[in-house]
C-alpha cells in the first residue's frame, strides 16, 4: 500500500510553499544578517558595557566605601571591571582611577592604572592600588609619591 496517497495533498503543498518562501528569504537576506552580526560584535568589544554607572559598596566595622564608575563589565558572577572615572569614596578618603577590577564576593579591588588617593591633608599618587581586608588595608603600588599637607 502506498502511504503517500494517504497524506492530504493540500497540506503537503502548503508545507512545500512555506519551506520555499523561507529558503528564498534566507537566501536573499543572509548577507545582511551576517554583516549586522559583525557590527554588533565590534560594538561589544569597544563601546558596550554591562552596567551604566555601576555602584557598589565595601563594608567594614569602621566605614562604608562606595565605589562608582561610568561603566562596568561583568567578567563572571562576582568579578567586575569598572572603567572610566572610577571613584572609591568613604568618610575618610577618595581614590580615583581609570580602571579597577572589583571582586564583589571578597570585597577586594585592584588597579594597575595611575591612581590618586586623597584624604584630609594627604595626597598619594601611585601606579595602581589594591584594597583588601574589606578596605582596612590599602596598598599603593609602584613608584609612589605622598604629600602630607599638614
Amino acid at each position: 500500500m502506498n502511504y503517500l496517497l494517504q497524506l492530504n495533498k493540500s497540506l503537503v503543498l502548503i508545507f512545500l510553499i512555506f519551506l520555499t518562501i523561507i529558503s528564498l528569504i534566507f537566501f536573499f537576506v543572509k548577507d545582511e544578517i551576517f554583516s549586522k552580526s559583525e557590527i554588533k560584535f565590534d560594538t561589544i568589544s569597544d563601546n558596550s558595557f554591562d552596567i551604566l554607572n555601576p555602584k557598589f559598596t565595601i563594608n567594614n566595622a569602621n566605614e562604608i566605601i562606595t565605589i562608582q564608575a561610568e561603566k562596568g563589565n561583568f567578567l563572571n558572577k562576582n568579578n567586575i571591571v569598572l572603567e572610566n572615572d572610577v571613584v572609591f569614596k568613604s568618610d575618610k578618603f577618595k581614590i580615583y582611577s581609570s580602571k579597577v577590577f572589583f571582586d564583589k564576593k571578597n570585597q577586594t579591588a585592584y588597579s594597575k592604572k595611575n591612581s590618586t588617593f586623597i584624604s584630609e591633608g594627604t595626597t598619594i599618587e601611585s601606579k595602581g592600588f589594591e584594597i583588601t581586608d574589606k578596605g582596612n588595608t590599602i596598598q599603593f603600588n609602584g613608584k609612589t609619591k605622598i604629600m602630607l599637607l599638614k
Partner: protein, 252 residues
C-alpha cells in the same frame, strides 16, 4: 568627567614640589596603609622630606594619630640616614624616632648620632631623648665625643644641655666590663666605672683606676678629679694595696 579631571590635575600639580609645612614622601615600591592599626609601610628607597627632618631608608613604618598626615612615630630599617633641622645627623641599620617627643633610637652596627659638637657611636644602641637631653650609648665600642671630652665604654649614659647653641654634657655615667676610658685635653683616665657632674666639675672613677697626666701615671681604686684645675685625689680601698704613682721622664 571634566570636574574629576580638574581635581586630578590640581592635586597632581600641587605635589610637584614641596612647600613649607608639607611633607613629601617618595618610594620605589609603594605604600601599604593599615587603617585599623593606624600605620603605613613605605617600601624600597624611601625618602621623607619635611620642614623638621629628612629621612632615607629602605623600609619605613610610619604610625599616625588622626590621619595619615599626623605622623607620631617612625620606624625605619636598612641604611637609614636621618637629618633634623636642629642639627642632628643619625645613621644606622635601624632608626626609630618619635616626632612628638623627639626621641631617637639607633640600633645595629655602626650606629651613630652627631648633634652639632656631640658625637655618639656604638655597634649596638644609641638612644637620645632630645627634649630632655637624656642619652644612652650601649654595646661594643660605645663612644661619646665632645669638644672637651672623649669617652669609651660599653655603657655611657647621661644628659646634655644646650647653652648658647652649644651642647654640653651635664651628667655622665660610664662603665665597661674591662676598662672605660675618659680623655680630656690633659688627662687620660681609665676605670671600670665613672661619674661626671658638670655642676661640680668632678669626675669620679671607680675600680681599676688609672690616671695619666703628662708623665704621671697614678693607679688606685678610686679617684676624684676636679676638671677645672685638673687636681685629683686617688685612694685605694684596701689598706694593703697602695696608690701607685709612676713618673716617667721624657727625652728632652
Amino acid at each position: 568627567m571634566i570636574k574629576l579631571f580638574i581635581i586630578i590635575i590640581f592635586f597632581s600639580s600641587s605635589i610637584l614640589s614641596r612647600e613649607v609645612g608639607q611633607t613629601e614622601i617618595t618610594t620605589d615600591e609603594g605604600i601599604e596603609v593599615f587603617q585599623k592599626e593606624k600605620y603605613y609601610l613605605l617600601k624600597k628607597n624611601v625618602s621623607i622630606i619635611s620642614d623638621n627632618f629628612e629621612l632615607r631608608a629602605d623600609l619605613v613604618k610610619a604610625y599616625f594619630d588622626k590621619d595619615l598626615y599626623d605622623i607620631s612615630k617612625i620606624e625605619s630599617e636598612k641604611d637609614v640616614i636621618l637629618k633634623s633641622s636642629r642639627g642632628i645627623l643619625a645613621k644606622g641599620d635601624k632608626i626609630n624616632f618619635s616626632t612628638k617627643n623627639e626621641s631617637i633610637t639607633i640600633e645595629g652596627k655602626s650606629s651613630s648620632l652627631t648633634y652639632d659638637n656631640i658625637f655618639m657611636f656604638s655597634q649596638d644602641l644609641v638612644k637620645v631623648d632630645n627634649l630632655k637631653g637624656n642619652f644612652i650609648i650601649k654595646g661594643n665600642e660605645a663612644e661619646l665625643k665632645t669638644d672637651s671630652i672623649h669617652i669609651f665604654g660599653t655603657l655611657i649614659k647621661g644628659n646634655f644641655v644646650t647653652i648658647d647653641n652649644v651642647n654640653e654634657v651635664e651628667k655622665l655615667y660610664v662603665e665597661d666590663d674591662k676598662q672605660a676610658n675618659i680623655k680630656t685635653e690633659n688627662i687620660n683616665m681609665f676605670a671600670k666605672k665613672a661619674n661626671y657632674n658638670k655642676q661640680d666639675n668632678i669626675i669620679e672613677l671607680f675600680e681599676n683606676v688609672k690616671v695619666i697626666r703628662g708623665n704621671e701615671i697614678i693607679i688606685g681604686d678610686y679617684a676624684n678629679i676636679d676638671t677645672l684645675n685638673e687636681s685629683y685625689k686617688i685612694k685605694s680601698n684596701n689598706s694593703d694595696k697602695k696608690v701607685k704613682i709612676l713618673i716617667s721622664q721624657t727625652n728632652e
